[in-house]
Amino acid sequence: MVILQQVGLIARRSMVRTMRQPGVFIPPLTFPLMLMAVNSNGLRAATHLPGFPTHSFLAFFLPFSFMQGALFASGIAGTDLARDIDTGFLNRLALTPVRGSALLLGQIGGALGLGAIQACLYLGVGLAAGVHIDSGVGGAALILVLALLVAVGFGTLGLWIALRTGSGEGVQSQFPLLFFVLFISSMNLPRNLIEVRWFRDIATINPVSYLIEALRSLVIVGWDPEALLLGFGVALGLIGLSMTLAVQQLKVRMTRT
């Protein structure tokens, strides 16, 4: 059986089980939208700051929803895999001819599927609420592509944590840390407007800032090659790093001969 078929089977199962758990599936769709609604109103005054790049805080904040969604996807992918390890389902799969790479890519496929639904929803809601995408239709498509890459990167990171800890609790315990990384980025303000120096420095070395800024640039600036290069570079780097870690950890976890 070709590896793509195996990936498809595992991804399909991953999607089906996620869709059948409304308690798991709905919060990643609604929570970022709620935060977007609250912040775009509550922090609207920030747009009056000299040098703030847009008059719409909603447009400024929209990219953060994609990041939040990706983190949720990471948690779901990781928790699902951890549950498979815990219940022995991973052993069941290991006894079939499925390849380790197909197992990982299939699980990532599940995260990708969820990420696609999330990204389309956030973008759709943003457009419906009056956000104008300065880079046009092509930029909107690129936003979806980058959002999916980010979902894959964080989803794979979740798989690595699951393979490393082997427990859903282990995955969940990493979740606040990832959220913390998200919050110490340029999510609420452009870096040049962050007055507290240590915060600005941390936001500058935090790769998440560049993911947000690449998405943001497509919404409020147009085509900014430097921001896009940095954003896509960080996304691909995240995928490369998390994939390497996950593959290595899979070899430790799945020791079949």
Partner: protein, 325 residues
């Protein structure tokens, strides 16, 4: 009992052969140099308490973990060098039915069959046949989280059989099942071996299960096999029956001990009773005749045949039920 051996996939001429198999986990030697030879078509009962090394042995034989040392071949293939060939020849239902609570029974079978490369109509007809065989046709489209323990175990068995394996590993398949579900599973496992020639490696901590199902039994304790043979052989090896008599009059206990002492050596008995393990000098009718001739009236006479628990006690100094400690 030897049965016709399965021949559908060309590996049936081989059962399981294990030599000096060891598995070390850091400071723990979970399996400590075991040797096994299981003929094709046999049901082999691997008996032992929790933590004895049963599941670790199964994980090595099913290629899920490599042995630290020693060698094993399953269906004629080396478990270290020929893992994929071993996996293609075996089915396994490991401890705790490993199922996805959010998928249906039919979806489980579809996924498992597809991963084994079974497609199209062949997959569909196989799915339906297995659902029918394990009695899950009506529940096939229900999510597994609504299944009872017995239904999950039956689905687990169906999944293990989806690619027509010649060797089946069942790791404590009836733990936690009610007596009815347990009996149904025993019947199916017996049928697989008897009618289809499947070799079955069954771990259990239930003596009755090994006694009823297994052609041969291996008893494992602290990673070592302490006894092996047919259930009858093992019982005969240690086995002399025990006779326990409860006298009608408590005052007769003294006379009873003297009388029964002619037939065997004193052994543990309930309060108010006296028991001996027979030493071959006479049998139960002889005991009854002696009681009658000496006018010792018995309220109760029990003949206790040796069980596998007695074998376990004789080999390890502990009873199986208390062996977890």
């Amino acid at each position: 009992m030897r049965r016709k051996s399965k021949s559908s996939n060309g590996t049936a001429a081989h059962g399981i052969e294990v030599e000096s198999l060891v598995r070390q986990f850091k400071d723990v030697r979970a399996v400590d140099g075991i040797d096994l030879r299981i003929e094709p078509g046999q049901i082999y009962g691997f008996l032992g308490p929790n933590g004895a090394g049963k599941s670790t042995t199964v994980h090595m034989l099913t290629t899920l973990i490599p042995p630290t040392s020693g060698r094993a071949s399953v269906a004629g293939f080396d478990v270290v060098r020929e893992g994929p060939k071993v996996r293609a020849s075996i089915g396994a239902a490991l401890q705790e039915a490993a199922l996805d609570p959010f998928l249906t029974g039919r979806e489980h079978l579809r996924l498992q069959a597809s991963l084994h490369g079974i497609k199209g109509d062949a997959r569909k007809s196989l799915q339906e046949a297995l659902l029918e065989r394990v009695g899950l046709t009506n529940a096939a489209d229900r999510k597994v989280r609504t299944y009872s323990g017995g239904m999950k175990r039956r689905l687990d068995l169906a999944l293990a059989l989806i690619h027509d394996p010649s060797i089946l590993f069942l790791d404590e398949p009836t733990t936690g099942l009610d007596p009815q579900s347990r009996t149904a599973l025993w019947e199916e496992v017996g049928r697989l071996a008897r009618d289809e020639g499947v070799t079955v490696f069954l771990t259990t901590q239930y003596l009755e299960e090994a006694d009823v199902l297994a052609d041969r039994v291996g008893i494992i304790d602290h990673g070592r096999i302490v006894a092996e043979g047919t259930p009858a052989q093992l019982k005969a090896e240690i086995g002399k029956p025990t006779v326990e008599v409860v006298p009608e009059e408590h005052d007769d206990l003294g006379r009873l001990s003297e009388l029964l002492g002619r037939f065997g050596d004193e052994t543990a008995a309930r309060p108010g009773a006296y028991a001996v393990q027979m030493n071959g000098h006479g049998d139960l009718p002889a005991v009854i005749r002696a009681l009658d001739s000496e006018n010792v009236r018995a309220a109760e006479i029990n003949l206790h045949q040796p069980t596998l628990d007695d074998v376990f006690l004789a080999k390890t100094g502990r009873t199986l039920e208390g062996a977890d400690d």
